[in-house]
């Protein structure tokens, strides 16, 4: 039956090529616009660590009081030195790490080799198991290494290739900022986007992954400069340069992440943060009631507006276009099906059920959907390639063509055309055979 309906559909579509082309183009463009903008949206709104993001939390403390940083009574999105260290010391989460951005130089051994500028982070050893950071060789460092500020380093895949030609370099020495570090781990290529563990500095997106991770306490001890942003409350300026000034100030420059595995632990941690703030209040440091936040990664990313408004907006507008295309197709299909009322009357009079008529026209709508989907596939491909040229520089390469996108494009086109065909097909199946036969 299906083949017969398909044959009928093709014959009917060929009869009015203009109208058919119109519908195919309409579906094709609508779907392509929606899918192209979705591919960009997907790239920037993705969950960087989906299997764990709801268990990773960012504690925020109101260390500046009402009116700071803005009037919306939200605490700053990073911590100052004193509070970050207090949280680390109390160690109330399963895993936790204070994090600050560093940008030291690596000096390769060998004559005449240029120093390599690095981007990376000073973290605690718990950072690696907490974020499931993938290792190619070796592993992170131990709590003991943290405690005695050991000169150890975890290096990224690219740096390992540049320095050691990509071999297992665990145990080798790398010279960073005029200090020797023992490599304890080499990462697989790892560059989660958005950079959920450092949103305040990156805004969410970076061009390359981190090159190096050093122990927090060792970086502090050697005075390794903070390469991330520093935010100070109104009217406060650092009175001393470098790390020393930062450590003494109440300016924020340290990001913090904690793993809390169930609701009870989360409640407990919330309570702990409030108790901590209350204690600071009693000590006279805070002159205001506790005003803390404990957001998990997805909520925090949303709070930080990591997804650019443009990506969401353009997807919305494209969805509007798809809707208009659908309505357009409904109208044209309706016209086309009802024009064949005579044919429907004859088929019904000869014994075809309403369901059969309905099925016949849905097949026709589906045929348009598949053709439109094929066109949409082509246009989406072109669209994703083209959109890369008009996106901001930092988003370049984020939108990708993959199997999911292609499959979804065809599915959306098919679903859209069937949806558009449903009402006209039902209307067509309601045609009164007797009336049609009489008037003709």
């Amino acid at each position: 039956m299906f083949r017969y309906y398909l044959e009928l559909a093709v014959r009917s579509l060929k009869r009015s090529p203009g109208l058919t082309a119109l519908m195919v183009l309409s579906i094709g463009f609508g779907v392509a616009a929606a899918m192209t903008t979705w591919s960009v949206f997907r790239a920037v709104s993705g969950d960087p660590i989906p299997w764990k993001s709801s268990r990773l939390f960012v504690p925020q403390l109101d260390i500046w009081g009402p009116g700071n940083p803005a009037g919306d009574h939200e605490p700053p999105d990073a911590l100052d030195y004193a509070d970050a260290m207090a949280l680390m010391r109390d160690h109330r989460a399963v895993w936790q790490s204070a994090i600050y951005a560093i940008a030291p130089m690596a000096t390769p051994t060998g004559v005449g080799r240029m120093p390599i500028p690095l981007g990376g982070y000073a973290v605690y050893g718990e950072f690696f198991p907490m974020l499931d950071v993938p290792f190619e060789y070796g592993s992170g460092w131990s709590a003991e290494d943290d405690a005695r500020a050991a000169p150890v380093a975890v290096i990224g895949d690219e740096l390992n290739r540049r320095l050691f030609g990509g071999i297992d370099s665990v145990g080798k020495t790398v010279r960073i900022a005029d200090q020797d570090y023992r490599v304890v781990g080499v990462l697989r290529p790892w560059n989660p986007q958005p950079v959920f563990f450092d949103v305040p500095d990156t805004g969410g997106f970076t061009m390359g992954g981190p090159d190096v991770f050093l122990p927090f306490q060792h970086a502090l001890a050697t005075g390794m400069a903070n390469a991330g942003s520093v935010n100070c409350p109104k009217g406060v300026a650092l009175d001393e340069s470098g790390l020393a000034g930062l450590r003494r100030s109440n300016c924020t420059w340290i990001t913090y992440m904690a793993e809390l595995d169930d609701a009870a632990t989360v409640r407990g941690y919330r309570q702990y943060l409030d108790d901590y703030a209350r204690e600071q209040q009693q000590l006279g440091r805070f002159h205001w009631a506790p005003n803390n936040r404990l957001r998990d990664v997805p909520v925090f990313l949303d709070h930080e507006h990591v997804v650019p408004g443009d990506a969401r907006l353009s997807m919305l507008v494209a969805l509007g276009l798809l809707l208009v295309c659908l309505m357009n197709t409904v109208g044209l299909l309706l016209a086309r099906f009802l024009r064949r009322s005579g044919e429907i009357g004859v088929r019904r009079a000869l014994g075809a059920s309403r369901g059969a008529i309905c099925a016949q026209f849905l097949v026709e709508a589906g045929a348009i959907g598949v053709t439109g989907g094929a066109l949409g596939l082509l246009l989406t491909g072109l669209g994703v390639l083209g959109v890369d040229r008009v996106l901001p520089v930092w988003m370049a390469g984020l939108a990708r063509i993959d199997a999911v996108l292609l499959l979804l494009t065809v599915l959306v086109a098919l679903a859209a055309s069937l949806l558009a065909g449903a009402y006209p097909a039902i209307r067509a199946s309601r045609v009164q055979p007797a009336w049609q036969l009489k008037t003709n």
């Binding site: 119109l22 500028p117 276009l321 295309c325 357009n328 109208g331 008009v390």
Partner: protein, 417 residues
């Protein structure tokens, strides 16, 4: 012609008419808002930086073997390295002028602070961006000196970029002068930059601040609050402004790279951000905005085309359906023009209903956008223009099928099929 027969005929194809009206409504709502956003982006991209952009080049580089720390010896060494670079660049044949310049408009690297009329922290001062550079910064940027004078070479100091920066004299942009001294007597006055006194020795024309980030988004008003500071910043990073001789921009960039590598090869100065013409910087900075405008424009075009062809398609169907009625009307004495007008009026009615609905949708969409994004009120003019455009679009789309309808001969009335 009366509307009554049109309305009663429409009752027979309610769904089609409704679909067209809804399509027009949605199209109007989307296109109005999209065009408004496009307009805002074009305005943003078109804002003047105040520079003479043609021929301006920015060099920004890291020394790989720079002394670390900010003790006096390190600062002196860094400054000597910087002066050596500047001297080498100045000798190049295609370079007209060279200056130490830590930042440039819109490019991102910013130092900022508060400029007020008293040393207290809460002095009602205004937020400003500091442009650190030497005595040639103003002329290399191509800024016009409106009053006062340039910095004298002996006023230029050099300080560590990591420390607290101060200067006893400043040149302010016109906007800053007017904001702090509304009576136009800014020249020679003392202002306090983050509590430290400085005298205004010159006033220059408009100069945009170096950042377009959230700070200077819509609604903030310090986009042109710029202050020139007579300070060469010494750090592992040093940045210069170069003015090429007319038409020699590319040559000057090539020469500059060669000259700087000859002075000291141990530096990081990649093509992507090391040596760039200001035109390139501008292109990069505004790529996202231009892209968004382009994308929205494209979607609008497709939307209008889809709606127009939809109207044309559905009307042709109606014409086909009503051939007989048209024939009868013609046989009863209706002229071709009457038939034409019938379809035009019918479309005007449907499009009118759709446009009214679209007007409400457009405003609702705009209000929703305002609640979620930094978006201004949609001006009434846009919506009215949109309504007019929709009606014109409808009329244009209906033209071809309506013409065909008017050509139906009266003899059709006498035929049975």
């Amino acid at each position: 012609m009366k509307l009554h027969p049109i309305l009663s005929a429409l009752r027979h194809h309610k769904t089609g008419a409704l679909l067209i009206a809804l399509q027009i409504a949605l199209t109007l709502a989307i296109v109005c808002n999209a065009v408004f956003i496009i307009g805002q982006r074009i305005e943003k991209v078109g804002r003047s930086t105040g520079l003479v952009e043609e021929g301006l080049i920015r060099i920004s580089q890291n020394w790989l073997n720079a002394p670390t720390g900010d003790d006096p010896a390190a600062v002196e060494q860094l400054d000597a390295m910087q002066r050596a670079d500047l001297a080498a660049l100045r000798k190049l044949p295609d370079v007209q002028e060279v200056a130490a310049a830590a930042s440039m408009p819109i490019q991102g690297m910013i130092w900022s602070g508060t400029l007020g009329l008293s040393p207290q922290a809460d002095n009602g001062g205004i937020k400003v961006a500091y442009y650190y550079g030497d005595e040639r910064q103003r002329s290399t940027f191509g800024l016009r000196l409106l009053a006062g004078r340039d910095f004298r070479p002996d006023e230029i100091t050099h300080q560590s970029s990591q420390g607290k920066l101060t200067a006893p004299v400043v040149i302010v942009s016109q906007v800053v002068a007017e904001r702090l001294f509304p009576h136009g007597d800014a020249l020679g006055k003392t202002v306090y930059q983050d509590g430290k006194a400085a005298a205004i020795v010159g006033i220059v024309g408009p100069l945009q601040t170096p950042t377009l980030g959230r700070l200077s988004a819509l609604g903030s008003d310090w986009a042109y609050n710029s202050v020139l500071e007579p300070v060469r910043l010494d750090g592992a990073t040093a940045s210069y402004a170069l003015r090429a001789k007319p038409g020699r921009e590319q040559a000057a960039m090539r020469e500059a790279r060669k000259a700087l590598i000859a002075v000291d090869p141990m530096r990081l100065m990649p093509d992507s951000w090391g040596i760039q013409s200001f035109t390139t910087i501008r292109d990069k900075v505004y790529r996202g905005d231009r892209g968004m405008a382009l994308l929205l424009g494209l979607i609008c075009l497709i939307l209008l085309a889809v709606t127009a062809t939809g109207i044309a398609g559905l009307t042709s169907f109606w014409v086909g359906q009503r051939r007989k009625q048209i024939g009868i009307r013609r046989a009863l004495g209706a002229r071709k023009a009457d038939i034409l007008r019938y379809f035009q009026l019918e479309n005007l009615f449907i499009a009118g209903v759709g446009a009214m609905l679209g007007l409400l949708l457009a405003v609702a969409f705009n209000l929703w956008l305002m609640s979620r994004y930094e978006m201004a009120h949609l001006p009434v003019g846009y919506v009215l223009l949109g309504v007019a455009a929709m009606l014109v679009l409808g009329q244009a789309a209906v033209m071809v099928p309506a013409r065909r309808a008017s050509k139906v001969p009266p003899v059709v009335a006498t035929r049975s099929v």
